[in-house]
Symmetry: C2
Subunit: 170 residues, 2 copies
Amino acid sequence: MREMTKKFLEDAFAGESMAHMKYLIFADEAEQRGLKKLANLFRAIAYAEYVHARNHYRELGKIYKEMAENVQQCIDGETFEIDEMYPVYNTVAQFQEEKGAERSTKFAWEAEKIHAEMYKKAKELVEKGEDYTAEKIYICPVCGHTVEGEPPEKCPVCGAPKSAYREFSI
Amino acid sequence: MREMTKKFLEDAFAGESMAHMKYLIFADEAEQRGLKKLANLFRAIAYAEYVHARNHYRELGKIYKEMAENVQQCIDGETFEIDEMYPVYNTVAQFQEEKGAERSTKFAWEAEKIHAEMYKKAKELVEKGEDYTAEKIYICPVCGHTVEGEPPEKCPVCGAPKSAYREFSI
Ligand SMILES: [Fe+2]
Ligand SMILES: [Fe+2]
Ligand SMILES: [Fe+2]
Ligand SMILES: [Fe+2]
Ligand SMILES: [Fe+2]
Ligand SMILES: [Fe+2]
């Protein structure tokens, strides 16, 4: 693919991903205000942006037939965030005495460490032709802490109670 | 907020949004290969990235108490895509004879025009203290075409059949 078209598709993928994310955030905000139909509109349009982002990503040749290659992309992204991005952003937030940013970057950094390990395990399994092992994954809705099987009594990262965790199961 | 911290939080929001999007795409890919537990892992971690992105966005002060201000952000984003981003990307794809990119940018461009109109209507309603009107929204899973009430017999943008449309309802 020509370089400028590639650059623009990458930018379009970023733009669609951010639009999708904003609409999911605003869907939850609308829901909290009792605006059910507005929340539904946001979620529907968020899905349309997913379709756009997926189409661009496919054209970029980033969706591989071999699932292990897709999982490797995830490992690479998480590893960059763990080793480079969040250590730098968190240090700058501390240095500039921005408490809120210090917390939100720390929360993310802690979860990414877990994600990288899960994806490494997933890659090994997929290479053997097997599915992932855990049937239930729990996410802390405050900080993103991620755990298999059973949530802890209290989130080890932000202190949220067990009952707050959101379950994802097959 | 200090400028560098702000810049880094914006970059982190972009990174989290793209990670979230990749994981949703790979969840669908895993599902298609019968890897249910891997798909569940991707969806769970995608939600963790949503939590991170939302936390960064909140620290950036971009989630407003007034819902109309949140909807205005959506109108602004869609308008930029309609008037600037997709016309340029689509023209470049045509000029560089990149058929796939021409199609994926055209598909997105068409849907954004509809999104902008829906958000404009939503903003008027929200300013009057009312919820959105439509209870059902349909999205074409091939191109993102967005329609209220009832899907057409054939997608006017990509030709997908009525039965392919995904329903979003309250
Ligand atoms: Fe879009
Ligand atoms: Fe992660
Ligand atoms: Fe937590
Ligand atoms: Fe994250
Ligand atoms: Fe849109
Ligand atoms: Fe379509």
